[in-house]
Every structure is written in structure tokens, then in C-alpha cells.
Amino acid sequence: MGTLHVRYPSEEIMKKERVQRIGKGFGRGVSEKALKIYFLVPTFALLLFMIIFPLIWSLYLSFTRYNAVAAAPPRFVGISNFARILSDPEVWTRFIITGKFVALAVLIEFVLGFILALLLNRNFKGKGIITTLYLLPMMFSPVVIGKFFAFIMDTNWGILNYILGLFGIPRIAWTTSYEWALYSIVITDVWMWTPFMLLLTLAGLSTVPGYLYEAAEVDRASAWFKFRYITLPHIFPLLILALLFRTMDAFRFFDIVYVLTGGGPGYSTQILPYYIYKLAFQYWHTGESCAIAYIFLIIIIALSNIYVNYLYRLRAR
């Protein structure tokens, strides 16, 4: 039996063929290198003008005193915007409010989403419809949801207080009392975004190989053992990812506060994105609003890094 020789075309021939292929029709005579550049330039241009330039410009503005609607140009003031923000106790209160909101909302969404995903991760009649219904809230516009919840939670006309009244529970000023206002926006956010956690957890659960459970069955492993040593390790990276997405998203939360509480009562629900909006577009402290946005960005990047590092460590194991 003779040796089978396979002749591969030389690199030069392959390159020539590629150029010829590209040369037919649109872009005739364009080399592969040029084509790459043509495709990349619009993307880079968009990135440059839509993201990189505004980032650099806003960073510059954060060190200036500037009002976007006034005639005067930006005036460099060094770090005084940052100093003022970090020394204002009312701004710190807003940081705390934001932290409370994010921690509460993400934690509740995570727990509820996880439990619901475990319940839905089995075969039963109508599973498809029920799963779809569960996912519906996150497909609505946040402003519409804010309006709905404003009606639902209205102290005098709201259906929530009506139902509570049937059980003899006195009316609660959900969106207008210090005791409840923050929880009212947490409840609204949880209603809207628990399905996101549910979806990612469900996706994670579907990747766990069935034979692992079968093997565990043979070994008469308990339900807890199966959950702890099979389910959880498989879905954990996806859960971390879901937490990362939701945390970042919760920090950007704005629409529902705008519609539901308007930051009140007092400023008890003025989370940072809402405060930045006020500073930037109502008080026109453009420089200061850029400074606080950068402080906020650094916090989000730091938090995200914790998640990402944890994810890398999990993968390394």
C-alpha cells in the first residue's frame, strides 16, 4: 500500500484565491486587508463618537464648573466638584439609599428567581405557557409598569390597599411614607426583573447532564446532596453572571422612581441615577453631575470586578 500524499496549496496560492473570490462582484479588487479595514472603520468611528469622545469630554467636564444651557464656557476648577460631592452628607445619604435599593432588589430577585426556576425545571402540563407568563413583566416598558404600580399602590384608590382592607389591615401609604416608599420601588423592581433571574437560572439548569442525577439516584443520594454537589456547581457561573447583570442594571434604575415616587417623600427614594438627572437637567450643574457620574461609574466597575474575579476563580477550579 503506497503512502497517501495530500497536496496542500501553498499560502501564496490560497491568498491569491481569496483575493480572486473577494474580487468578484461588490468590492472588486479590494484586498482582504482593506476589506477588514472597511468593516472596522464604521465600528471604530461609532465607538469613538458615541462612547469614547463623550467619556473623555464628560471626564474633562467633571473638573470644570459648567452649565450646559448657560452662555459661559466650562471653567476648570480642579477636584472641587469631587470634594463638594464627597463632603455633602445629603449626597452620602443618596449613596446609602442606592446601596439599600440595589442590595434588597437584587437579593430578592435572585432568591425568588432561583426558587421559581427550580419549580419550573420539571415536566408538567402547561409548562410552556406558565414559563412565558412568568417572563412577561420584563418585556413591558418600565414607565408603564411605574404607572401601573402607582395605581395599584395608591393609598386611597389602590387595589393593594383594598385587598389588605378585606383582611382588616389598615391602609398603607406605599409610595408616600418614609416607612414604605423605598420598599414600594423594590417591590416594583422585583416584579419586573425576577423573571430575568428565573430565565438565566432555568437556562443553567437545562445544561446539567441528566446522567449525573441518574448516577446519584443509583447511589441513593439525597435531594440535598444532588442539589449541593450536582446542580449548584453546574449553574453557579451562570448565577454569578445573572447577579452581575442585575446589579449593574439595578444601579442604572431610574424610570420607575421618576414615575412612582418622584424621589420622595423628602428625598428618601432619590437614588443616584435620579439625583444625577436632577443635577444635570434640572439644576444644570453639568460639571458636578459628570463628577458624580464618574464616582458612580468607579463603584459599579469595582463591584463588577468582584463578580468577574469570582467567576474566573470558579472557572479555574
Binding site: 448657560a70 452662555a71 386611597n156 384608590w157 401609604a173 408616600t176 418622584g262 423628602g266 437637567f281 444644570w284
Partner: protein, 448 residues
Amino acid sequence: MKKLFLILMSVLLAGMMVTGVAPAQKKVTLTVTWAAWYPADYLIKLSNDFTRQNPNIKVKGAFIPWPQYHDRVFTEFASGKPSFDIAVPDSQWIGEAVEGGHLLDISDWMKKNINFDDWYEFPLRSYGEYPDYSGHWYGVPLLLDFVMCAYRKDLFNDPKEKAAFKSKYGYDLGVPKTWQELLDIARFFTRPKKNLYGFATWQAPIATAGLADVFLGPFWSMGGNLWDPRTKHVEGILNNWYGIDAAKFWVELYKTQPPGSSNYSIDETMTAMQQGLVAMIGIYAMFYPGLLDPSLSMYVDKTGFFTEPGAIGRDGVFRHFVQLGGQGLAVSAYTPYKEEALKFIKWTTTDDFLWKWTEGGNFTPKKTIVEDPAFLKKFPNAEIAKVVRESAPLLRDFWEIPQYNEMGEYLSIQLNQAILGKITPEQAMDNIAKRHEEILRRAGYYKD
């Protein structure tokens, strides 16, 4: 062919010169931006008359919902190329817009075209002059607005209620003349078990359509002042005993309001009256159509209106001030159609336009219209027309400087905390005075 064309053109031009026919004037469409509400639609409807008189100038509206109105207008101004030629800014925006260089200076035009004596001085200056009494003009009044009160006539006229009120307070139940009387009536009608409350008004912690708008009426009438108008200093003035009295009064008045009303703004206050939850409300007068619309209100026939009351201050002096709202017309500094815009503005100040404006149920601060005997008949609701006539000479407005939004919001937030018992009225007024001074100092109002 070319020769023939030239000959024809020459003949045409010569013919036009001989017969005196000028080439057709350029057609212009003016865009007016305003909040999306009834008066805006009515203005555009009436502007057809203007177009009939000036066939080359059409007027169209670009209206924005109230909550987004300020932000949209100023974002467009900031771009330097707004989509409108004429704006109808709220009275307090004028400083913000003028300092930004966004409005056309019409000082000379005003002197030639407006007879100042024909107008109530305070609204004329508020809608058009900046800084106050500087002689620099940027707008003319269009829609007068002010805080007005509405009440349930059926409750006020009920003989049993009248007798019960008299036996409790010692005087007749009727439209209150002072805020102190209003508080008595509000307390009298506060009956939580019957789901009836005395009063509702804007308590939302926001600068516009919030607590500041309605608090300042009693504040001024009780003797309060926002600052020293000469030095602009606030501490010791806003938070003096008169100011604190007003804050304490406001906290007491909130106790007569429906539960959960600390975020009430336009819609919520209107709904409270429309659904019979309260006996009285305080609201900007131009929202009255919502109270007289049977498809919205269950108490159309039972709703009456009265002028925002005055008050007796701790010095025993009766003062009477009414909070100004409303909007003027101003020309964008960026429009290429300045001449046409001024022509339109001039038309809106004519008696012909303003009588039609009045017949449509809109208010004007033109004294010659409001004080004309025909005004009470021509305005669709005589009771409201009477309130307009009483309120127009009593008007006052808050800061019209660019910092008004931040100052108004801080005031609203602090008093919102006070009505909810988070801080005392004294603390609220002290905090406001301190922060207002900080804001004004940063903005460069103090030389010291």
C-alpha cells in the same frame, strides 16, 4: 432658445415694475412650543385668524407633555438649534433662559408696541422682564395663571353642616377669607371614617407643580419673605418667625389632607376633588376645566371656586397675596424669523385676540380686558371670572433666577419632610435658609 427665454423674463420683469406687482413674499411657518394642554391647542386654533391677516405666516404648535416640558425646551436651547421659533416659558424660567442667551431681547420693541398701563404690572414684569425692574424685556404675557381654590358647594351650603360649624367655631361656614379660616373648615370636614378630608393640594417634593407653588401663598400672606430683595440674603429672613409660622401652619393643614397625599401633584389633587374625597383643593386656576367636565368629575354641579385667601400675621396685620403661575410668549434668539415672530406676538396682545382668548376660557393679565364689565359675561364661568379679577392685583411669584429649580426643590423637599414629621417646621425653614444661601453664594450673588 436662450435668447427667447431672456426676452420673456425681461418682459415679465418690466411688466411687474410697471404694474407694481412685487414678487411673492417668502412663506414662513412659525413653530410655537408649549406644554401639551388645552390653552396651547386654543392658541393654534386662534392663530388661523393671524394667518388670514398675514397670509405668508403660518403658525404651528410643537407641544410637549408638562412633566417633560422644561427639560425638552432647555435641551433644545442648549443645542443652539431649537426646533421652535417661539417659546411659552413658565414665568420662573425667564432668568434661566435669559442668562443662557436663548431669548431675543425685545426691550426696544416693548417700548414701541406695548402700553404698560394696559396690563397688571406684576404679571407683565414676571413674564417678560429680567432682572426685575431692569428695563430689559424678553417676553409678553400670554396665559395668566395663579393658585385658586375650589370647594364642594353642597357641603358648604348644607344647613346641618352650617349649624354644626357655627356651634363649633363661632362664625358662619362660608368661603374662607383667611388661611386660618380655611384651616378651621378643613379640620371640620376631615372625617376619615366617612373617607372625607378637608383639603388637598400639591405636596410633591418637586420644584414645579409641587409643594413650593402652593406653600408660598400662605407664606407671603402670613408675612414671610424669601430673601432680602436688595442683598439676596436669606438667613434670618426666610426662617424668621413669620416664615416659621407659615411652615407650622402648613404642617397643621397637611393633617386635614387625605392619607398618602404627600406626593400629590396636578393629577392626584384633581382626582381627590373629582371623586369627592375632599371638601376643598388648592390648585393652579387653569386646571379648572377638569373640575367642570362631567366625564371626569362626579361633582361638576357642586363645585365652586374662590380666591386664594389672605392671612393675619403674628403682627395682627392682614396681608393678601396669590401665587402667580402662567406663561408668556418669548422669541427664541436662534430663530431666523424674528420679524414674523414679533408680528405674531404683537397680535396676541391685541384686544381682538384677547377677547376671543377669554371667550375660550383662558386668562389674560391685560387689565383693560379683566376690568371691562363685559369680562364677567364673556368668560365662560362667571364665578371663575370673579376670582380672576380678585386675584390679578394680588399676585406674587418666587425666584425667577436660574437657580429657581434647585431652590424650589430644596424648599419642597424640606417642607415635605416636615409634613411627614421627619423634621420640625423650624428645622425645615432653617435648612432651607442655609441651603438657599449656599446656592446663591455659589452662583455669585454675594460680594462678601
